[in-house]
Every structure is written in structure tokens, then in C-alpha cells.
């Protein structure tokens, strides 16, 4: 199973890339844990997560070919 990751704003700086793939992630909690292990700076970041273009608010199942977007807030105006 393979999923697509998209990063925006400052998250791209932390991950070093704006789009990449991951394998064998069963839900969003596991995804976050995995990402934080790979990129420790993410622990302190606040960001929202969208699965297939729908924002999630709680632990959500992830399936093959899903696209996950990591969306940090911007404040600039």
C-alpha cells in the first residue's frame, strides 16, 4: 500500500520536500507518529491534516492511494 504526502508552507522546510510517498500507514495517528520520528521539528508545529481533500479532526483510517496534505497556518497579511 502506498500513499501520497503533500506539504505546505513551513512544513516543506522541515520535511525538505513538498511531495513524496509513504508505505504501510494505517491511520492518521500512525502517520503523525511516523512523520515526527522522521522529522522531529514537526512535534512543535501546529498543522491541519486533510485526507483526500477533506480536513480530519480525529484519528482517521488511511487506505491505499490516499493523498494526505499537511497544512500549517499562515498569519501574514
Amino acid at each position: 500500500m502506498e500513499i501520497n504526502l503533500l506539504a505546505f508552507g513551513q512544513i516543506t522546510e522541515i520535511t525538505g520536500k513538498s511531495a513524496w510517498k509513504m508505505v504501510e500507514i494505517k491511520d492518521s495517528n500512525e502517520l503523525i507518529k511516523n512523520l515526527e520520528e522522521q522529522f522531529p521539528a514537526l512535534v512543535k508545529m501546529k498543522y491541519s491534516i486533510a485526507v483526500n481533500k477533506k480536513l480530519i479532526q480525529e484519528n482517521t483510517a488511511i487506505t491505499d492511494k490516499d493523498t494526505i496534505a499537511l497544512l500549517p497556518p499562515f498569519s501574514g497579511g
Binding site: 505546505f8 479532526q57 497544512l71 500549517p72 497556518p73 501574514g76 497579511g77
Partner: protein
């Protein structure tokens, strides 16, 4: 018919800056009957790169008043009201009440949450927009989606404000001038669609735009009970709410003036840290320092020697204040100072 609706409409824009300037111009040009402008700032040289209502001659003048004057010459037939004040939870309800639709052109999180909450309490639609560097976000909050009968707001998108280190502003790290131009214009577009009832406003949806990639990414927001945990339940709660505290933006840290800094570093050995991004200008080589970008600060804090006094600087003093807050949280007894006014002030003082 559309033009009538536009002429009857009353739109308030909070912030006459990067987002506000283009939005205001297009709304005035379209003939929005009443336009309100809230901004307590004055025009600065560094604004002119993106805040295109202003000219060099306007530097030092009130933004709200200057913007109103320019818009009057663009469209003398509409009514323009300006509020040369800082929007706070004490004046927000009174100001917003007079308008049908609110546009968020502010530049900090405390104000964004404040405007959002006021719009929910007063039941006004809010056109949200935000930018940083080469990206922007835009969406419409607090408007009923007739298809599925739901409304969302900013807290459904971001229930919690970000930590100090991630709350950086356009003045600190910059924004490509055209980006707020694009997002601000899109905000005006959404406003006109809502007013006329034409097209599909971005209700319960956000578009994220990347100027470098020429890409748009859209996603839906859902409302959730968790999002309302920190929401002020009624007017009294709103008036009592401390938005600065909620966003941890009240930074009361020890600062060092540029003169005291120069005096200190000649008298004793100190540890100097630059928390700007790698390669960020202006370049400094008049004294030795270590570069630790703010975003990595918390991770690398244990590498900083506490033997000597620590002085942290950045461009203008905002990021360094955040860094000092981080140091003091971990090492409360550490002697650490933020360079007041940042390296900009130091360069000016030393006439380099």
C-alpha cells in the same frame, strides 16, 4: 441587479496592508456601496513592495486614512469609513456590527481568531486570506452552505494557534509582493460572489495557492466539537477573552539596546546567536556569532553554552524575543537577552 446588490453592500476590511490594498481597490472599483477600513498602522518604506495603494509620499501617514483618500479618488460615489484604531475584542463587535461581510486582511494570529469569533457571534460571513513567502490561503467562513446546511469557521481549520517559533510574519521573513496581491484580489472576488449570489463562494473550503509552482490545492473543512473548546460562548466571554494570551503573542522578554550590546561585548565574553534563516540579509561580520534559525531553536537549545550571557538577534527583534522565551522556559535562570530592534537597529546605530 447584481450592481444594485453591490451598491447596497457594506464590506469591512480589517488590515489595509498586503491583502487589504488589492481587495480595497477592486471592491471600490466594483462600486461596493459602503467600505470600512480598519488599520492603526502607518505606511513604511518596506510596505511599498506589496501594499500598492501607497506611494513614497505617504510614508509616515496613517494607512486607514491614506487608503480612504485614495479610494475616494477611485470611486467618489461610494461611502468609505475608516477606523484608525487597533481592532480589539473591546471594539470589534461595535465596528463589525455595521457591515454585512468582513474581510480578514490582518497579519497576526491573535487578530485572526478575534475577527473569526466576532463574526461567528454576530453571524457575519468572513472572507479569510493569509500569505507567507510564496504561498497563500483563502476561504469563506461562517456562511451557510445551502447544499448541506452547515457552517464552519477559522477554529475548525486551525483549532489551536501555532507555537511562537512558527508564528512568523511577512515583515520578518518576507513575502513575494504579488502573492498578497493575488490572494487579496481573490478575497474581493469571493466578497462580490457572496454579495451578488453569483457563482460558488469558497464556503467550508480553503484553497492553498503556491506562486512558485503555479498550483492550487483545495480542501473541505468540517466542523467539529473540539474546534469550539476555546471558542468564547457568548458576548461576555468574548469581551473577557485574552487573545494575546491565547496566541502566546505577549512577549515580555528582557531586551538589550544596541548601545548596551556593543558595550557588553567589548567588556566580557558573551554568546551571540543569530536566529534568522540561513543566508538571510543583511550579512553581519563585525562580531562572531552562531546561526541557529528560530525554527530549529528548540531542538538545538542544549548546544548553547550557558557559561556566558547570551544575546540573541534577528532582523527586527521579534524572532529573537521568541527565542529568549524558549530559552527561559527551559533554563529559567539563564541570562539571555534579545537585541532590541534587531540587527537593523544595530546597523543603523553603527552607521554601517
Amino acid at each position: 441587479m447584481g450592481q444594485d446588490k453591490i451598491a447596497q453592500a457594506k464590506v469591512l476590511i480589517i488590515g489595509a496592508g498586503g491583502l487589504g490594498c488589492p481587495a480595497l481597490q477592486y471592491l471600490a472599483a466594483a462600486g461596493v456601496g459602503t467600505i470600512g477600513i480598519v488599520d492603526f498602522d502607518v505606511v513604511e518604506l518596506s510596505n511599498l513592495q506589496r501594499q500598492i495603494l501607497y506611494r513614497v509620499d505617504d510614508i509616515g501617514q496613517s494607512k486607514a486614512i491614506t487608503a480612504a483618500k485614495k479610494l475616494e479618488t477611485l470611486n467618489p460615489e461610494i461611502k468609505i469609513e475608516f477606523y484608525n484604531v487597533q481592532i480589539t475584542n473591546k471594539n470589534a463587535l461595535e465596528i463589525l456590527e455595521n457591515y454585512d461581510l468582513i474581510i480578514d486582511g490582518s497579519d497576526n494570529f491573535a487578530t485572526r481568531y478575534l475577527i473569526n469569533d466576532a463574526c461567528v457571534l454576530l453571524d457575519k460571513p468572513l472572507v479569510y486570506g493569509a500569505v507567507l513567502r510564496f504561498e497563500g490561503q483563502i476561504g469563506v467562513f461562517n456562511l451557510l452552505d445551502k447544499d448541506n446546511n452547515r457552517k464552519t469557521n477559522y477554529r475548525d481549520l486551525f483549532p489551536k494557534p501555532p507555537d511562537l517559533a512558527s508564528a512568523i510574519s511577512c515583515n520578518e521573513v518576507g513575502v513575494l509582493g504579488v502573492v498578497p496581491g493575488i490572494i487579496g484580489t481573490m478575497q474581493a472576488t469571493e466578497a462580490l460572489k457572496i454579495i451578488t449570489g453569483v457563482g460558488k463562494p469558497l464556503v467550508n473550503k480553503i484553497i492553498s495557492y503556491n506562486a512558485l509552482e503555479n498550483s492550487f490545492y483545495d480542501f473541505e473543512i468540517i466542523s467539529n466539537a473540539n474546534s469550539s473548546i476555546d471558542f468564547p460562548k457568548n458576548i461576555k466571554a468574548f469581551l473577557d477573552y485574552n487573545y494575546e494570551w491565547f496566541c502566546n503573542s505577549n512577549l515580555d522578554v528582557e531586551t538589550l539596546s544596541v548601545e548596551d550590546f556593543d558595550s557588553l561585548r567589548t567588556k566580557e565574553k558573551i554568546t551571540i546567536i543569530d536566529v534568522r534563516e540561513k543566508g538571510e540579509l543583511p550579512f553581519v561580520d563585525e562580531f562572531p556569532f552562531t546561526l541557529i534559525p528560530l525554527i530549529e531553536f528548540e531542538n538545538l537549545i542544549s548546544t548553547i553554552s550557558q557559561e556566558n550571557k547570551i544575546v540573541v538577534f534577528c532582523k527586527s527583534g521579534q524572532r529573537s524575543a521568541k527565542a529568549i522565551k524558549i530559552i527561559k522556559e527551559k533554563y529559567p535562570n539563564c541570562q539571555a537577552f534579545s537585541l532590541k530592534g534587531g540587527i537593523e537597529a544595530w546597523i543603523k546605530n553603527n552607521k554601517i
